[in-house]
C-alpha cells in the first residue's frame, strides 16, 4: 500500500496535527457557552500525546473537531497539512477513514456483523474488495492477538476484549493518527492495563501517533507530551505540575 510507505518516509518528525486559536461555542436558548477558548496544539508524527483534564473541560469537543465531525466556530485545523474544514463532508469522511482512527469510551458495533467484519467495515467504505478488506482485518487482529475472536459477535466479548477490537478497527485503514477518548473508562484495572498496553504497542511498534484523552491521573506517566486542559484551553505541562495542581484544587 502506497499509504503505508508514505508514512514511513515522512518519519522525520513532521507536524501531523496543528490547530490555531481554535474556538467553539454552543448556543443554548439565549445564552452562549464557550467550550473551547483558543486552543493551540501541535502534534508531531509518532508521538504519544496525553491530554488530561477534568470532566466538562472540552476534551470531547476538541476530539470531535480534530476528527472532522464538528466544525469549529473559528480557527484552523490542519491534519497532515490538510485544512480539513475546507473539504466537503464526504471528502472529510473519506479523509478521516484514511488518516485517523478512533477509540471511544464505549465500543459501538454493527451488531449484525462479526468481529472481523466490523474491523473490516472502514475498508468497505474505501471501496476495497471484500477479500482484501478481510485480509487486512485479519492481519490487524493478529497483531493485537485477537484473531481467535474473529468469528464471534462483538457483543459476546468481554469489555476489555471489545475495546481491543475497537483499537483494531481504528487502525485497519492504516491511519497515521489514532485518537482514544477515555478508552479505559468502563474497564476494570486488568482490562484497562491491557488496552493501554495495546495503545503503547501501536505507538512504539507500529509507529502510530496516538492521542489519549483521559481524566485518569494514572496515565500521566505514559508520555512526556502531556497537555492539561481546563476551561476550554490547553497547556503543555508535566506530570509533577499536574499532580501539584490537583493537590491544590482538592484542598
Amino acid at each position: 500500500m502506497a499509504n503505508r510507505n508514505q508514512n514511513k518516509s515522512k518519519k522525520s518528525k513532521s507536524i501531523v496535527i496543528e490547530t490555531q486559536n481554535l474556538r467553539k461555542s454552543f448556543r443554548f436558548a439565549k445564552s452562549e457557552i464557550s467550550v473551547l477558548r483558543g486552543v493551540d496544539l501541535k502534534v508531531k508524527e509518532g508521538e504519544l500525546v496525553v491530554i488530561f483534564g477534568p470532566s466538562g473541560c472540552g476534551k470531547s469537543t476538541l476530539l470531535n473537531i480534530l476528527l472532522g465531525l464538528e466544525e469549529p466556530t473559528t480557527g484552523e485545523v490542519k491534519i497532515l497539512d490538510e485544512e480539513i474544514y475546507n473539504l466537503s463532508p464526504d471528502e472529510r469522511a473519506h479523509f478521516r477513514v484514511r488518516r485517523m482512527g478512533m477509540v471511544y469510551q464505549q465500543p459501538i458495533w454493527i451488531r449484525s456483523l462479526s468481529v472481523i467484519e466490523n474491523v473490516a467495515f472502514p475498508l468497505y467504505n474505501l471501496n476495497l474488495t471484500k477479500t482484501s478488506s478481510l485480509r487486512e482485518a485479519r492481519l490487524v487482529l493478529s497483531w493485537l492477538g485477537l484473531e481467535k475472536f474473529k468469528n464471534h459477535y462483538p457483543a459476546t466479548l468481554s469489555g476489555g476484549e471489545q475495546q481491543k477490537v475497537t483499537v483494531a478497527r481504528a487502525i485497519v485503514a492504516n491511519p497515521t493518527i489514532v485518537f482514544a477518548d477515555e478508552p479505559t473508562g468502563n474497564l476494570d484495572t486488568k482490562a484497562a492495563g491491557e488496552v493501554i498496553e495495546t495503545l503503547k504497542f501501536l505507538n512504539r511498534k507500529l509507529g502510530r501517533t496516538v492521542i489519549l484523552v483521559t481524566h485518569n491521573p494514572q496515565y500521566l506517566h505514559l508520555s512526556k507530551s502531556l497537555y492539561y486542559m481546563e476551561d476550554g484551553k490547553v497547556f503543555k505541562t508535566s506530570s509533577q505540575a499536574i499532580a501539584k495542581h490537583i493537590a491544590e484544587i482538592s484542598i
Binding site: 454493527i110 449484525s112 468497505y124 471501496n127
Partner: protein
C-alpha cells in the same frame, strides 16, 4: 460503498433480528397472498365464463341479422353481396321457422332450423353426438333441449331413428306462398346428430330441404372472415346494407369489463391487508432505526456516507418487500391451485365436469411481486431519510 456490501449488510441486519423480520415479512405474505388468491379467483371465473362463450375461431365469425323493422330481407341476393366483400372467406345462412317434432307418442313445439353442414363449424352449437348431415335431404339434427322434451335420456338412443316434424311456413319467409300460412305435416327425417344446446327445443334440417319448399328469407347469416382485424371494416360495410351485425368479441369485451371490475374489488380487499403490512414494515424500520442510532453514528465516523446509510435502510425495506412479495405470490398461487385440486377431486367423485376456478397469469404474478418490492421501498423512504440525516455526534450520545 459497493452495492453488494450494502446488500450483504442489509441482509445480515434483517437476519440478526430474524424473529421480527419474519413477522414483518409474514404481514407482507398475507397481504400479497390475499391479493393473488382473490384476483386469481377473478381470473379463473373470467376464464371459465369466456370458455363458455366460445372458442377463438368464433372471433372470426360475424352474425348478420335483418332488422325486424326494415324491409331489407336476408336472401340469396344479399348473401351474394356480402360474400363478395373483401376478406369474407365463407358464409352460411340459417333459416328459422316454427313447428313441431314428434317421436312415437310424444310431441313438442320446436324451432325448425334450416342449416348447412358448415353452419356448425361457424357456430358455438357444435355436434356432440353423431356424424351430422351427409347430404341426404331427409336428415335431422336435434338439440339436447328437444331430447329432454321427447323423453330421450341417452343421445345415442335416438341416432338413426326416424322422427316426424311439422314445419310452419309463412309469407314473410316464403314470399311465393299462396296462402298467408301453410303447415307441412309429418315430414319424416332420420336423426343423424345431436347438438348441446339448452333453452328452446329445436331441430336442424338441411337448408336445401326448406329452400326447396319456397323459403327465401334467412333469419341469420354467419360470415366467416379471414382475420379478426377486419371486423370493424366489415361490420361497417354490412351495416350499410341495412343489417345488424353481432360479434362475439363484443360479448367478450363486456364480460371482460365486468370481470375487470370484479378483480379490482377483490384486489382491493387484499389491498387492505397489504396496507396493514406496509404499516408493519414502516414500524419495523422505525424501531430498527431507533435501536441502531448509535450504530449509525459509528458507521458515519467510520466513513460511511449519508447516501449509503439511506440506501442501506431502503435495501432492508426492499428486501422485506421482495421476499414477502415472492413468498406471498407463491402462497396465493399455491392456495388457489390446492382448491382447484380439491374441486377436481369432488367433481370427479360427483361425476361432474372438472373446473378450475383459480387461474394466476404469470405477468400478473410478476407484477404483484414487483408491487410488493415497491411498497417496501416506498415505506422505507421516510426511515431511510431520517437515518441519512442523523447527526453522528448526536447519534453517538444517543442512549
Amino acid at each position: 460503498m459497493k452495492f453488494k456490501y450494502l446488500l450483504e449488510i442489509a441482509f445480515r441486519n434483517l437476519w440478526f433480528r430474524v424473529g421480527r423480520t419474519v413477522i414483518t415479512i409474514a404481514g407482507v405474505v398475507i397481504g400479497i397472498g390475499a391479493i393473488v388468491f382473490l384476483v386469481s379467483l377473478g381470473y379463473g371465473l373470467q376464464k371459465m365464463t369466456l370458455a363458455q362463450i366460445g372458442t377463438m375461431k368464433l372471433l372470426e365469425v360475424l352474425d348478420v341479422y335483418s332488422e325486424k323493422s326494415t324491409i331489407v330481407r336476408m336472401n340469396d341476393k344479399e348473401v351474394e353481396r356480402i360474400s363478395n366483400l373483401a376478406h369474407v372467406e365463407a358464409t352460411t345462412p340459417l333459416i328459422s321457422l316454427g313447428g313441431k317434432i314428434k317421436r312415437g307418442d310424444k310431441e313438442t313445439e320446436a324451432i325448425i332450423y334450416g342449416a348447412e353442414r358448415r353452419y356448425f363449424d361457424f357456430s358455438e352449437t357444435s355436434l356432440s353426438t353423431g356424424a351430422g348431415f351427409t347430404g341426404d335431404l331427409n336428415e335431422a339434427i336435434l338439440n339436447t333441449a328437444a331430447l329432454d322434451l321427447l323423453g330421450v335420456k341417452n343421445p345415442r338412443d335416438v341416432l338413426g331413428e326416424t322422427i316426424k316434424t311439422d314445419v310452419v311456413l309463412t309469407k314473410s319467409v316464403a314470399p311465393n306462398l299462396k296462402k298467408e300460412r301453410e303447415t307441412e305435416k309429418n315430414l319424416k327425417v332420420k336423426v343423424v346428430g345431436v347438438v348441446s344446446e339448452n333453452g328452446s327445443a329445436a331441430v336442424y334440417l338441411p337448408l336445401f330441404k326448406l329452400t326447396s319448399k319456397g323459403v327465401e328469407n334467412y333469419q341469420l347469416l354467419k360470415v366467416k372472415i379471414d382475420s379478426k382485424e377486419w371486423v370493424e371494416q366489415l361490420r361497417f360495410q354490412i351495416e350499410n346494407f341495412g343489417f345488424r351485425v353481432d360479434w362475439i368479441g363484443d360479448t367478450i369485451a363486456q364480460v371482460n369489463q365486468v370481470f375487470n371490475l370484479f378483480k379490482i374489488i377483490l384486489g382491493a380487499f387484499g389491498g387492505i391487508a397489504l396496507l396493514v403490512s406496509a404499516l408493519g414494515i414502516f414500524n419495523t424500520l422505525t424501531v430498527s432505526l431507533m435501536e441502531r442510532t448509535r450504530e449509525i453514528g459509528v458507521m458515519q465516523v467510520l466513513g460511511m456516507r449519508g447516501k449509503d446509510i439511506q440506501k442501506l435502510f431502503l435495501i432492508e425495506a426492499g428486501l422485506i418487500g421482495a421476499v414477502g412479495g415472492t413468498a406471498g405470490t407463491l402462497v396465493g398461487y399455491g392456495l388457489g391451485q390446492l382448491l382447484n385440486y380439491l374441486l377436481q377431486i369432488f367433481a370427479t367423485r360427483a361425476g361432474a365436469e372438472a373446473v378450475a376456478i383459480f387461474y394466476t397469469p404469470l405477468p400478473f404474478a410478476i407484477l404483484v411481486g414487483l408491487f410488493a418490492l415497491l411498497i417496501g421501498l416506498f415505506t422505507g423512504i421516510y426511515p431511510a431519510l431520517r437515518a441519512r440525516h442523523i447527526h453522528s455526534l448526536d447519534a453517538l450520545r444517543y442512549e
